[in-house]
Symmetry: C2
Subunit: 424 residues, 2 copies
C-alpha cells in the first residue's frame, strides 16, 4: 500500500475502482449499524442487574434516618454525597446529588445564570447584551448546544494534546462578556485527551474579567479507563480554591456509564457558597430528586474502590471494541496517509481526523451504506467544523462482530471520500 | 359551649384561663408533631412495596422494543404515555412523561417561556417589561413561588366553592401582560374544591389577550378521592381544543401520592403542537428521564382501573385521618363561631379559616407547643394572607394517635388566638 497523495492519477483511479466495488458490495448487504452515540452495550447493562435487587424490605429504604421513598432533601441523600465525594476527591458538603442526568444539572445551572444570575453576577444573564462562551473543540456537541440554546456566542478554542490552548483561553477571558468554558478534562469527548497538570493549574488559576465566570468541568469519564488501571486526577475544587477561585468551578459526573445510562444518578460539585446560593433556587424547581435511585446506587456501588472494580469489568467489555476500531484504522488507513487519530486510554470515543474537506462526504457515504455515525461537524460549535475533518467514532454499543463490519465500511468510506477529493 | 363573640368579658376570661391551662399542659409534654406538608405516611409507602419487584430479569426492562435501561426517548416510554392518557382521559401523543416531580415539569415549562418563549410567544418572557400571573387563593404555595422566582407579578383571584372567581379572571386576562394562571382543578390545594363544570367551560373558552397564555392545570389529585368512589372529571385538553384554545393548556399529574412521593413519575399533557415545539428544546436539557422508573410504574399500576383500586386502599388509610381532623373541628371549634372549614372528599388538605387576624398567632402557638404546620399566609401569593386567616392542615403523615394530639393542640391554639383577639 502507498500513500494516496503519492499515487499517480492512474493508480488512484485503480484504487478508486477497487474501493468503490467494495463499497457497493457492503451497501448491498443492507446492514444497519450504529457508531453514533456513546451508549453502553446490552452486555454492560446486563452486568449491573444486581443493582435492581439491593432494595427490598421497607427498612432498606432508610438511609441516615431519611426515608428515601418520601419527599425532601433537595440536595440528595448524605450517603450519596459521600459516595460521589469519595469518587471525585472533593467534600460531601460540596456535592449536590441530582436525578438521572448530569446534562440536566449542567443545563439547569446555566439556565439559572440566565434567569436568576449566579452568586457573583451583577444581574441575570438574560438582561445582558451579550454572553460569550469558550468551547474547546473538538468537543461534546450536547455541551455546545446548551450554551447555544440560551443565545451565547460560542468561541472555538483549539484542543491540544494537553487540553485547551491556554494561551488563547487566557487572552479570551480578558473580555468580561466571556462567561464560561466547557471542559471534559479526563478522556475528553471525543479525543480522549487527559488535561495535563500544567493545563489544569493554568485553568484553576485563571483570572477571568467576568466575576461570575463558570468553569464547567464535566468529569464524565472520571473513572472510565478501558486500558490499564485507574489514573488519579486532580480535585479541581480544591485547586480552584487554592487560587482564590473557589466559586468559579462547577464539576459534574454521573453513573450513566457505571450503572444504567438512562437511570443513573448525577452530581454537581461546587463550592459551599455556590450551593448555599443555588439550593433555595433549585428548591423552587423541585422538592427533591429520586432518592430511592440514589440509595440503590449507594448500596450497589458502596465506595470508590468497589466502583473502580466494577469499572474494570466494563473495561473488559469495552477494550476489544476500541481495539477493533483502532486496529482497523492502523491496518486500513495508516499506510494511506489520509487520516490521523489518537489512541485513547479511557472514555467512550475515538476521534478521527479525515483529510480536510472530506468528513461530511465520508459520513454521507456511511449513511448510505447503513452505518449511522455522529454527524460531521457535531464536535464543533454550531455543528460547523471549519476544516470539515473531525469525525467521532463511538465503538461502545455494537457487539464486536457488528463493529468489525461497521468500521470496515467506515474505512472504505473515508478512502472513497479522500480519493474523490484528490481527484479520480 | 357558646360563641366567643357572645360571651361576656368575664366568661371570656374564664375560658381563656381554662384554655391556657390546657395549652401549658400540652406544651409541657414536649411533643414533636407535623401537619405541615401533604406527605403520604409510612403505612402508604409500605403498601406499594411490590412495585420494587416488578422488574427483575433483563427482558423485563424492554418495553415496545425500547431498552428502558439505556439512553433516549426524551418524551418517555410509549407505555407510560398510554398509562397517563388512560388516567387523565387525554391522548398518549399529548403526554410528555418526565422524572420524579411534576413540579419540575411545571417550573421547566415556565422557565422555557422565560428563556426561549412558547409556541405563540413574540419573544422570550425575560425580554418583556412585565409579566403578570393569576393565582387563585387560597392556593398552593409552591406554585406561587415558581412564578414569583421568575419575577412575575402575582395577582390574587378569590376562590369560590366552584373554583376561581371567573368574572374576575375574565376581566384580568384582558391585560396582555397577564401570561398565565395556576389551577388545581380537582380537590384544590388547600380547600379541596372541585371546579364546577361551568367554571371549567368558562376557563376552557377564555380569550386571553396574551397569545401565549399558559393555563397551568395541575391535576395533582385527579384520582385522589378519600371519600366515596372515583369522580369522573373533564379532559381539559379536549375542552380547550373545542374552544380553539388547544395550545393554551398545560396539564400536570404525577404518581407521587400513588406510589412513592420522592420517586414517582410525572407527566405534562399538552397539545401536540406544543410538544412538537417544546421537545427539541427539552432535548437539549436532557437525553431523557428515568425510563426504568416509568416502566416500573407501568408494570405495577397497569391501567386506570387497576390504579383506582390502589387509590381506594390509600383512601382507607387517609379517611380516618381526615375524620380525626374534621371531627375535632366540629366538636371543639364549630360551637365557638371562631372558624370555618370545608369537608373535602379528596386531596390532601383541610383548609381552615380562622378568625381574621389570628392565623399567624395561632400557628406561632402551635409551633411553641411542638406542632409544625404550613406557615400562615403560605396559601396566598407572596406568603401574605391579607386577612391573616387561612391555615392549611395536612393530616396525611402522622399516625391517627399522633394526629389526635396534634389537632387537639391546634384547636387549643386557635381558641387562644381568638380569645386574645377578642380581648381578655
Amino acid at each position: 500500500m502507498m500513500k494516496y497523495t503519492e499515487m499517480t492519477a492512474r493508480q488512484r483511479q485503480a484504487e478508486y475502482d477497487a474501493v468503490l466495488a467494495d463499497y457497493e458490495k457492503q451497501k448491498a448487504l443492507g446492514l444497519k449499524l450504529n457508531m453514533a452515540r456513546g451508549k453502553p452495550s446490552t452486555e454492560q447493562l446486563n452486568m449491573v442487574m444486581d443493582m435492581c435487587s439491593v432494595l427490598v424490605k421497607p427498612e432498606d429504604f432508610v438511609s441516615d434516618g431519611i426515608d428515601s421513598r418520601n419527599y425532601g432533601n433537595v440536595d440528595g441523600l448524605p450517603a450519596a454525597k459521600a459516595l460521589f465525594a469519595d469518587i471525585l476527591g472533593c467534600k460531601p458538603e460540596q456535592c449536590f446529588v441530582g436525578g438521572n442526568a448530569s446534562l440536566q444539572l449542567m443545563y439547569d445551572a446555566i439556565s439559572k445564570a440566565y434567569t436568576h444570575g449566579l452568586l457573583h453576577s451583577e444581574k441575570p444573564w438574560s438582561k445582558l447584551e451579550k454572553v460569550k462562551w469558550l468551547c474547546p473543540a473538538p468537543g461534546y456537541d450536547r455541551h455546545f448546544k446548551v450554551t447555544q440554546t440560551f443565545g451565547a456566542e460560542l468561541i472555538t478554542v483549539p484542543m491540544t494534546a494537553d487540553g485547551p490552548d491556554m494561551d488563547r483561553v487566557e487572552e479570551l477571558i480578558q473580555d468580561p462578556a466571556v462567561k464560561g468554558m466547557w471542559n471534559v478534562p479526563k478522556y475528553s469527548n471525543p479525543e480522549g485527551v487527559v488535561y495535563s497538570d500544567e493545563t489544569i493549574r493554568r485553568i484553576a488559576s485563571m483570572k477571568p474579567a467576568a466575576p461570575d465566570f463558570m468553569l464547567m468541568w464535566d468529569n464524565a469519564y472520571c473513572i472510565h479507563e478501558f486500558e490499564g488501571d485507574f489514573v488519579p486526577f486532580a480535585d479541581i475544587l480544591s485547586l480552584c480554591a487554592e487560587y482564590g477561585n473557589a466559586d468559579m468551578v462547577y464539576e459534574f459526573a454521573s453513573t450513566s456509564k457505571v450503572t444504567f445510562p438512562g437511570a443513573g444518578v448525577s452530581v454537581m460539585a461546587t463550592s459551599e457558597a455556590n450551593l448555599a446560593y443555588l439550593k433555595p433556587i433549585i428548591n423552587i424547581q423541585t422538592i427533591g430528586y429520586d432518592k430511592i435511585n440514589q440509595l440503590r446506587h449507594v448500596k450497589y456501588l458502596k465506595n470508590k474502590e468497589h466502583t473502580l472494580a466494577l469499572m474494570q469489568r466494563h473495561a473488559a467489555i469495552l477494550r476489544p471494541k476500541f481495539h477493533t476500531v483502532l486496529d482497523a484504522l492502523d491496518r486500513e488507513i495508516a499506510p494511506l496517509g489520509i487520516g490521523t487519530w489518537k489512541r485513547p486510554m479511557g472514555g467512550y470515543f475515538v476521534s478521527y481526523d479525515a483529510m480536510p474537506g472530506t468528513a461530511k462526504r465520508a459520513l454521507a457515504l456511511c449513511k448510505e451504506a447503513g452505518v449511522t455515525m455522529t454527524g460531521a461537524g457535531a464536535t464543533f460549535p454550531y455543528g460547523e467544523d471549519p476544516r470539515d475533518s473531525n469525525i467521532r467514532i463511538a465503538p461502545s454499543l455494537p457487539p464486536v462482530e457488528e463493529l468489525q463490519q461497521a468500521i470496515a465500511i467506515f474505512c472504505i468510506c473515508v478512502k472513497l471520500a479522500a480519493l474523490e477529493k484528490l481527484g479520480v
